[in-house]
């Protein structure tokens, strides 16, 4: 029989979701359709079970506060297939499950596309009889609490629900139930935390004020860039703002007489594209979105005064979006000039439909580029103790490797945006691009390590467990033998983690295969070296190495372990950070056991406690 493309299972499954959250109603393209991957079309196919339970995600609608389950959605029900999933509804739990599944799946797909490989979760192993082994549990109505977070121990994303403030509910009804799982931003944000945790072994370990802030900022960046892929919402905002999508407020449709609005069309409203989790913030009585990422002028002193993870993370978000909006304006300047030259209106509300469409196309394209740069940069980050400056270097290097010529000036825009906010990478001599790129060992240490040979791959298939074990041993030996060149401590054991192949298309169009690995070292040190009864924590150091397919070290991105001495600057900084953070905890006064959990320990992978961070107290 002749081949027909119609024989293949459809690649995508349309599912409806809110573009923002229920509080936006039908405004601004809030009812959207997400085309998620149809898991049944994969190799090997996964049957999507009621829940939905698929390859990566298991949505289990168990409510621990009420000890009850809610009826699960069966997305393969023909009645749902015909209408592209359930329509948005706050009162139907099955729609909630569908939306969490859709948005989380979409976030996963974006990561896989950007990284060029299958993702995995940060928890490994698990009991053989665990029916959800290897899947991230998603509990859309886990508990009654104004909180949502990723919890590695529970292997789950948990979303809470809560009654809106009685006295200050914002646009909600007083006491109305607010569902965090219906906020597009919150779902994307939490999924991003889980995804990052899967990429790296110790990346989530808090080691300084920048690490928790980085994770909050990064997850917000992912959630925000997702806004710019919603065509309907984007088009409406572009139209209403005359193309200036970065403005924080959308003016009224009709100018009010004497400055005071009388009817709804005369009201101005905030721009949902640059806000995060509006309903959530308002329901708590904060009278604003959870975080306003943009809208404050760059301040090079902010880094020295803001230490709360979200506030500090917002600096990172603002820097990345500054660059993004700059590029968007640059990419659309010609279109605006053509429009103006031909006498076409470019004022808010009067854009030509075709122009608005083209602007939306540019905004969406640039947003995807930037999201990809950020996600790809994860492979180029040091294995632990990330700072904002490291992230800038990682982005610049990752993007250079992919697009050596920078025609649109993406990298230049990023560098300038970071510079304006006082983010200075350590160990570089200037903000010049070549100075910011990571260096190979011969430049850093003047030593060229030998080729790392003997690594085994199964390209294009994933490596087998035997190959992985072999590669781990090979890499550890290589690290130990070349400790000096790679910035490792020659007296301490080296362990290899998170190694995988990365594929990229070289500028000449050929496929390049590279290998990335983390070489880790650790030592136990006293929290307070002057106190003989001090708590002890495990201090880690390590290097991310990127190897060519021949085994040549292209980059060795280092956080040196060093010695347990008072001259070890990184150790001192980490000690100060732990001492200060512990002292600022409310529970610190009463010395509860939970305090001890704050410190990293040998053999225990420490993660940030997102439950505490997101709760805000």
């Amino acid at each position: 029989m002749a081949y027909s493309p119609n024989d293949e299972a459809p690649a995508e499954r349309p599912l409806k979701a809110y573009a923002f959250d229920p509080s936006q109603g039908r405004n601004l393209g809030n009812y959207m359709t997400v085309n998620v991957r149809n898991e049944a079309a994969e190799d090997p196919p996964t049957e999507l079970l009621p829940g939905p339970v698929g390859k990566y995600l298991a949505v289990i609608d168990y409510d621990a506060s009420n000890n009850v389950y809610y009826e699960p959605v069966d997305l393969n029900d023909p009645a749902l297939l015909l209408r592209g999933g359930l329509d948005p509804s706050e009162s139907d739990p099955r729609f909630h499950q569908q939306m969490v599944y859709a948005v989380a799946s979409e976030t996963i797909r974006r990561f896989e596309t950007a990284m060029g490989r299958r993702i995995r979760w940060g928890f490994r192993g698990g009991r053989k009889n665990d029916p959800f082994r290897g899947k991230l549990r998603v509990l859309p109505h886990a508990m009654q609490e104004a909180n949502a977070y990723y919890d590695r121990n529970l292997r789950a994303l948990v979303f809470g629900y809560f009654p809106a403030s009685e006295t200050d509910p914002g646009t909600n009804l007083p006491g109305q139930t607010v569902f965090t799982c219906l906020s597009h931003d919150i779902i994307a944000h939490e999924t991003a935390h889980a995804l990052i945790d899967g990429q790296r072994e110790f990346f989530l370990e808090p080691t300084g004020p920048d690490t928790p802030a980085f994770h909050e900022g990064f997850a917000d960046i992912i959630a925000l860039f997702q806004h710019f892929s919603y065509k309907e919402a984007l088009l409406e905002v572009i139209q209403k703002l005359g193309g200036q999508i970065y403005r924080s407020r959308i003016g009224p449709n009709v100018q009010p007489e004497g400055g005071r609005p009388v009817i709804q069309d005369e009201l101005s409203k905030s721009n949902p594209l640059v806000e995060l989790a509006q309903q959530f913030g308002e329901a708590l009585g904060m009278r604003a979105a959870l975080r306003q990422a943009l809208g404050t002028p760059p301040n090079s002193n902010a880094l020295k005064t803001l230490f709360e993870p979200h506030e500090r993370g917002a600096i990172l978000v603002a820097a990345v979006f500054d660059a993004y909006f700059t590029i968007y304006m640059r990419r659309t300047r010609d279109l605006m000039r053509i429009a103006q030259g031909s006498g076409s209106a470019t004022t808010p509300g009067n854009l030509h439909h075709d122009l608005a469409n083209r602007l939306a196309g540019e905004a969406a394209k640039a947003a995807q580029h930037f999201a990809n740069i950020c996600i790809r940069a994860l492979d180029y980050c040091p294995p632990i103790d990330i700072s904002f400056g490291d992230f800038l270097r990682a982005m610049i290097t990752a993007d250079y490797d992919l697009v050596p010529g920078d025609h649109h000036g993406y990298r230049e825009a990023l560098i300038e945006a970071f510079r304006l906010r006082g983010i200075c990478p350590s160990g570089v001599t200037s903000y010049a691009e070549e100075s910011l790129r990571w260096c190979p060992p011969e430049v850093l240490k003047g030593i060229t390590p030998p080729l790392c040979t003997g690594l085994k791959f199964n390209i294009p298939h994933p490596t087998t467990p035997q190959q992985q074990r072999h590669n781990a041993i090979t890499l550890s030996r290589f690290g130990k033998a070349n400790a000096k060149a790679l910035g490792l401590n020659p007296d301490k054991p080296v362990q290899a983690f998170s190694f995988h192949a990365i594929h990229r298309v070289a500028p000449d169009g050929g496929l390049k295969v590279e290998m990335i690995a983390e070489l880790m070292q650790q030592m136990d040190v006293a929290l307070d070296p002057d106190d003989k009864d001090s708590d002890v924590f495990t201090f880690r150091g390590g290097t991310t190495v990127i190897l060519t397919d021949k085994g040549e070290v292209r980059y060795a991105i280092q956080k040196n372990l060093g010695e347990d001495s008072k001259d070890n600057k990184r150790l001192k900084r980490q000690r100060d950070y732990y001492q200060n953070s512990m002292a600022s905890m409310a529970m610190a006064a009463y010395g509860t056991e939970e305090m001890q959990d704050f410190l990293p320990r040998r053999g225990r992978k420490r993660s940030m406690n997102f439950s505490l961070v997101h709760r805000g107290y």
């Binding site: 389950y69 009463y590 709760r615």
Partner: protein, 438 residues
């Protein structure tokens, strides 16, 4: 704390006289009760030689040594029932429980409280109501849970923190009414500066906290929306519980649908549901209790008194957030390096004396007092802090629990004082710190 120095004569005690400041710390248990006495210059033979400021008067019911009545009687006797200023740094039981009707027989000039206790201040009132409601819920919830399951250490600490927030109504009402003796009630906030404070010539008060800053307020405003347990008779019920969906969507874990092939894959094991209930339920309420406690501590009125060259810092129970607010300011260094007496905040707990602040004080140039004991929280006082205080003050520091109380059995015993530090003296159930003015 103090290391023993041999072959050294004990310092000669300073006599309490015309030109002497005295800070008296009563040992009441886990609580604060400080009497500051300032000399009146050129006092007539018949007039009082000193004027008095009472800073806090309370004890936590779980660390109560039943000394409060005696302390108040003793204050009455010492001051001839005349107090120029009464300060309630913040409305925690261990700082105000002793403010009883007894004070209505005093002549009181002024009552000072932080602005957060003002009932005419809209913002303050909103916060107070929220705190009171939340405290009551937490108390009921912990009580209900304690009847169902044994209480672990963290929960016990959280329960004691909540207990500290309740039953303060009587004292607060009295304080706000100026003890019904026409005392002037002042609600103060950071950056207030009072000259000749309380009518005491030469005494100025620089108020360092609490601020009226928006960000600071947000920290005092824990989110609502949670549900709590309450005992109704022998049954515990959930208060404010939200049922997010109508019954038609609910499936009990025992529902036969789960044995059905269609849904069997979704049923979590009993072990896992138990774990989820544990992890997602109570820990957040422990944190909430601690957060509420810290929020209240951070409303502490932080007062820096200056009197004829002496700088006496009374920070109440200010914790990290309150300190942080003014430590970031430019003049903090100057203030700290000039301090000559320091009442240690929050009974010497971990987060009440920022290391940075202590290190900025001038080594050997100040004395300190800690009203503390390791009941009801064994993490208080924090030992490394006590050690460092010993070094920084050159052993001019005393802990209230070093004092042996006659007739009280079972009072927690602090470390013995090897020798009375210079300027200090011991009374029946108090320690004095005396400064002879030039």
């Amino acid at each position: 704390m103090a290391t023993k120095k041999k072959n050294k004569k004990p310092a000669k005690p300073i006599a309490f006289g015309k030109n002497t400041i005295r800070v008296r710390m009563y040992r009441v248990g886990f609580g604060d009760c400080f009497l500051l006495s300032l000399p009146v210059a050129d006092a007539d033979a018949n007039a009082d030689t000193h004027r008095h400021v009472l800073i806090d008067c309370g004890v936590h019911f779980k660390g109560d040594l039943k000394m409060m009545d005696r302390a108040v009687d003793h204050i009455a006797e010492t001051t001839k029932r005349k107090l120029a200023i009464v300060i309630a740094t913040h409305s925690h039981q261990d700082h105000i429980s002793g403010f009883s009707n007894k004070f209505s027989s005093f002549e009181i000039g002024e009552v000072w409280m932080p602005w957060c206790e003002d009932v005419r201040d809209k913002q303050a009132l909103k916060l107070q109501k929220k705190h009171i409601a939340l405290t009551e819920r937490l108390r009921q919830h912990f009580e209900a849970e304690a009847r169902r399951a044994p209480v672990n250490k963290t929960r016990a600490a959280a329960m004691a923190a909540v207990a500290n927030l309740v039953q303060n109504k009587t004292a607060l009402t009295l304080l706000r009414a100026g003890f019904n003796v026409n005392a002037q009630v002042r609600y103060l906030n950071a950056s207030d500066f009072l000259k000749n404070a309380g009518g005491i010539t030469g005494l100025s008060a620089n108020i360092l906290g609490p601020p009226r800053d928006e960000k600071f307020l947000a920290k005092m405003n824990p989110p609502a929306g949670q549900s709590y347990l309450r005992m109704d008779g022998s049954q515990s019920n959930r208060l404010d519980a939200v049922q997010p969906f109508p019954a038609r969507w609910r499936l009990k874990p025992s529902d036969p649908a789960f044995s059905d092939k269609r849904l069997s894959h979704l049923r979590l094991s009993d072990e896992e549901t138990a774990k989820l209930q544990k992890e997602l339920g109570s820990p957040s309420l422990n944190s909430l209790a601690f957060a509420l406690d810290q929020a209240k501590n951070n409303t502490s009125l932080v007062t820096l008194f200056s009197f004829r060259g002496q700088q006496l810092l009374f920070p109440g129970d200010a914790q990290w957030g309150n300190w942080k607010f003014w430590l970031d300011k430019d003049d903090a260094e100057g203030i700290l390096s000039g301090v000559t007496f320091f009442k240690i905040a929050h009974h010497g707990s971990h987060n009440a004396t920022p290391r940075d602040a202590l290190e900025k004080m001038s080594k050997g140039k100040f004395a300190a007092m800690v009203s503390t004991q390791n009941v009801p929280w064994d993490s208080i006082p924090r030992m490394p802090l006590m050690d460092r205080l010993g070094e920084m003050t050159m052993n001019r520091v005393v802990r209230s629990d070093s004092l042996k109380l006659a007739g009280t059995s079972g009072a927690p015993k602090g470390p013995e004082l090897p020798e009375m530090p210079k300027g200090f003296a011991q009374g029946e159930f108090w320690y004095d710190y005396l400064v002879k003015l030039k």
